[in-house]
C-alpha cells in the first residue's frame, strides 16, 4: 500500500517540451529523494531534500530541477526534454529521525522522450 504517489505513471513526450513529474507523500516525512534508473540498472540519486525550502543535487549530474515548497510535495521539472532523459524516475521519502529510517518508494514514472 503506497503512501507516496507519483504521476504520471507513463509519459511519452517530444524533444524540447517542458515536463513536471509529480511526487506526493502523506506520511509527513521530512526527507525526500529523486532517483533515476535505467531498466535493470542501478539507481542514481539526482536530487534530495532535507525539508521545506531545502534541496540538494545528488551524485548524478542532472539537467532537472526540484522544489520543496510543501512537506508533502517534491516535483521534478525538466525545462527541455531530450531523448537522453528517457529513463524511469523514482521518488522516495523517509523520516528524518531515527537515522537510518527506511526509504518508502513510489511506483515511478517511466519517461520516454522521442
Amino acid at each position: 500500500e503506497a503512501d507516496i504517489y507519483q504521476t504520471p505513471r507513463y509519459l511519452v513526450i517530444g524533444t524540447g517540451k517542458k515536463i513536471t513529474l509529480e511526487c506526493s507523500q502523506t506520511m509527513g516525512h521530512d526527507k525526500m529523494y529523486w532517483y533515476q534508473q535505467d531498466p535493470g540498472m542501478e539507481l542514481h540519486l539526482i536530487h534530495y531534500s532535507y525539508g521545506v525550502n531545502s534541496t540538494e543535487k545528488g551524485d548524478l549530474s542532472s539537467e532537472s530541477t526540484v522544489s520543496r515548497i510543501r512537506t508533502e510535495h517534491f516535483p521534478l521539472t525538466l525545462e527541455s526534454a531530450r531523448p537522453s532523459h528517457t529513463s524511469q524516475y523514482l521518488c522516495a521519502s523517509k523520516k528524518g529521525i531515527p537515522m537510518g529510517s527506511p526509504l518508502h518508494f513510489g511506483n515511478g514514472t517511466r519517461l520516454t522522450v522521442t
Partner: protein, 112 residues
C-alpha cells in the same frame, strides 16, 4: 557503480534452495539496507542493519555486515517463485545517514 559491487549480477535457482547475494561498499556508513524491486515497480524495504550490528534476521531473510571488509550479504532461505525480483543494497552515508546510495543490484530468478 557509485557505491560498489553486488555479486552476483544475476542468480537463477530452484524453488526451495537458498539464495545468497553479496554487496560491497566504498565509504564509511551509518547503516546498510536491502531492498527488493519487482519489474517496473518501486523498491520495497526489506531489512536494515546498523554499522554496530553484525547479523540480523527477519523471517526467511538473514543479513550480515562486516564493516572491516566493507561488505554485506543477504541470504534468502527456502526460496519461492514469488521471490523472483531484483535485490539492491543501499548505504546511508556519514554523516547522519540521510543520503542513501544504491548498489547495482542482483537479479534473482527462482524457478518453480
Amino acid at each position: 557503480s557509485q557505491q560498489g559491487e553486488e555479486d552476483p549480477q544475476a542468480l537463477s535457482i530452484q524453488e526451495g534452495e537458498n539464495a545468497t547475494m553479496n554487496c560491497s561498499y566504498k565509504t564509511s556508513i551509518n547503516n546498510l539496507q536491502w531492498y527488493r524491486q519487482n519489474s517496473g515497480r518501486g523498491l520495497v524495504h526489506l531489512i536494515l542493519i546498523r554499522s554496530n550490528e553484525r547479523e540480523k534476521h527477519s523471517g526467511r531473510l538473514r543479513v550480515t555486515l562486516d564493516t572491516s571488509k566493507k561488505s554485506s550479504s543477504l541470504l534468502i532461505t527456502a526460496s519461492r517463485a514469488a521471490d523472483t525480483a531484483s535485490y539492491f543494497c543501499a548505504t546511508g552515508s556519514m554523516p547522519g545517514g540521510f543520503k542513501t546510495i544504491f548498489g547495482a543490484g542482483t537479479r534473482l530468478f527462482v524457478k518453480a
